[in-house]
Subunit: 111 residues, 2 copies
Amino acid sequence: MAGTSHRAAPEHTHPDGVPVLTALAALADPVRAQLVRELAGSADWSRSCGTFDVPVGKAALSHHFAVLRAAGLVEQRDEGPRRVNRLRRAEFEARFPGLLALVLRDDMRRG
Amino acid sequence: MAGTSHRAAPEHTHPDGVPVLTALAALADPVRAQLVRELAGSADWSRSCGTFDVPVGKAALSHHFAVLRAAGLVEQRDEGPRRVNRLRRAEFEARFPGLLALVLRDDMRRG
DNA sequence: CCGAGTGTTCGACGAAAACCATACAGTGGC
DNA sequence: GCCACTGTATGGTTTTCGTCGAACACTCGG
């Protein structure tokens, strides 16, 4: 049975069902903001969770991705042993116009 | 000396000097979001701090206003015994285009 | 079938944040 | 001068959040 995954698929939330405060809280964290920025600079499904340059262990990293999923920011798919990611640009932009751009265009000021 | 206030003027931060994550964190709180919404629906300098319908004591309320000031969202001025507020619509919009609209246009969903 | 690689889950910990009650500092009316 | 009113500052409690270490689950290659 090739192509069959026996791993539990990650739970995804569509941006349409996400409250604004949840979206803001998801982005108001330095680690998650960095994840989103790197993800925005990469092609869809090209980055697995372990390939991000953030100063946290894999347990915390896994938690952050869960938060991003719950906020409708990230979609994940299992590809062999790793879990590859995609930034939900269009859907998130439709729900929260301009929000993603604010985080991406930021001048990396202190904070 | 009429017109002289002996009270320390509140410290204000212009939105231009505010990091994006600080702005997001300031708005990602239910109480503060409510303050901003009520403020947006009132004329400038028409509301003093005590006139907002939020379920917290005045100590916490004072703290929330300090956070909003530090995020460049609110300007305050002393008017007799009370401190009246103004939402910095234009300045904040110039620094974070679309962000205020997201909080104001929200459908008040749970969360 | 085993072992390396990848990511999640669990429990615990510390730091940060929200909150309250109280005390304090101005303002203005009496 | 006193007192009610408004908001700030302080100290301490509770809750939330980010983090880690360790254990577990799954995939794939030998």
